[in-house]
Amino acid sequence: MSTPAFFFPRSVAEAVDVMDSYDGAAKLVAGGTALTLMVQQRLVSPQALVSLRDVPGLGEVLVDEDSGLLRIGALVTHAAAARHPLVRRHAPLLADSLAVVGNAQVRSAATVGGVLAEADYASDPPATLRALDAEVAAHGLAGERTIGVGELLLGFYQTALAPAEVVTEVRVPVLPAGTGSAYLKYTSRSHEDRPCVGVAAIVGLADDGSCADLRVAVGAACDAPLRLGDVEQQIRGRRLDGATLSEFADAYADRIDPVSDVRGSAWYRREMVRVWVRRAIEQALLRSGAHEHSKERAQ
């Protein structure tokens, strides 16, 4: 129980080296909110703390025109990303989910890299990043690799990251124009409770009004964001009428393996998945290009 050493590396490579030298006994500090809590509550007792504060280049937000990726540095805070013009324009879904995490103080400290590296099942952004098919860039001993968020998040506080691997960037594919998206966070108790269920939905409609693209990820209800690719596939080409949405929401509700806690039993969470998947899709439809067109026509 000796006091951990504190490192302030000046590059990602240095950070990786320090982490490696402690062989899993060091902890990275990004925004520090989750880590401080864990240290105070003695859930972790690291031998070393490694702050990324002095590592340059991890605070950028930019759009890579060639790859069509929105690239967000790992140290960009939730608050900064949520109000960043590029994030708002190219990934409003992500901005919406970052804007509802915890409270104002948490959002001004917690980072987009940290929330993924911590793999907190009950946070909001992981589900949206999963729905967006986002990837992270991670630096380790063997250099950089990219990991899809679906492959990164393995379970409760479990990731595919190696002990000496540092998330440096989150890469979000920019959605085609006219795509609608929504993140709905449902808190069953206080407004500031962690979510009972959070649902991210992305909808693109074909010219004939049929579904060209539907992606839904459910967060906070099970160990890692749930996406059902086969169910999403099956719905493409169909019209998103009430019966179809019910069928789709039922599939998520039936296949999720929900947690049971003070925010809701497994039964309740399943029912809430049924409700909020549907509501999130309906909300996304309202924001889709098809809806904008129909509004224009109506006017």
Partner: protein
């Protein structure tokens, strides 16, 4: 410490704890440069209260939910209980004690809270005051929604929310519904 032998040549700025398990940290607190010796796991809240005897930031929950420990960290509202003191090296920290100007005059947010008697036990008050100060620094005339947003993560268990909002709306220059009613 055997681990250190395997360290890279230049691990950047490293803070190795001394025999008491402490590292030095330089923080500008309420306009005054301070050097503290803190444990690397110590929170900023703890350092301010126990070492600098600044009691304006209070411990309420220890998990970033109640806002009683709010301070301004480089101008933004931060939970002192979720911030490690060691990473505050080189930062500017302001507590409620640092809000009054050199002549001892309270800030207009503090004056508004007093005028509206926007507190009961006042344990939460510094947190609400600093949250509003942080908001006003980036948005001098926030609307009610923005104020409510800034007050997320702040609990007033005594139930002074109405008067806190009235004080905040007055400072924000927004219409004070209470006075109108």
């Amino acid at each position: 410490m055997s681990e250190l032998q395997e360290l890279p040549d230049d691990p950047g700025a490293v803070k190795l704890p001394d025999a008491d398990g402490r590292v030095p940290v330089r923080i500008d607190v309420n306009g005054r440069a301070r050097t503290l010796r803190v444990r690397t796991t110590q929170t900023l809240l703890d350092a301010l209260r126990e070492q600098l005897r600044l009691q304006g930031a209070r411990s309420g929950c220890g998990v970033g939910m109640c806002g009683a420990c709010t301070v301004l960290l480089d101008g933004r509202a931060a939970s002192g209980c979720l911030t490690l003191a060691a990473v505050c090296d080189g930062t500017d920290v302001r507590t409620v004690e640092g809000l009054e100007d050199p002549s001892g005059e309270l800030s207009r947010v503090q004056e508004a809270f007093l005028r509206h008697r926007a507190f009961q036990c006042s344990y939460c008050t510094p947190g609400f005051v600093l949250a509003l100060e942080a908001l006003l620094a980036v948005d001098p005339s926030p609307d009610e929604a923005a104020i409510r947003e800034a007050f997320s993560g702040h609990i007033c268990r005594c139930g002074s929310y109405s008067r806190i909002m009235a004080a905040a709306l007055e400072v924000a220059g927004a219409t004070d519904r209470r006075e109108q009613a």
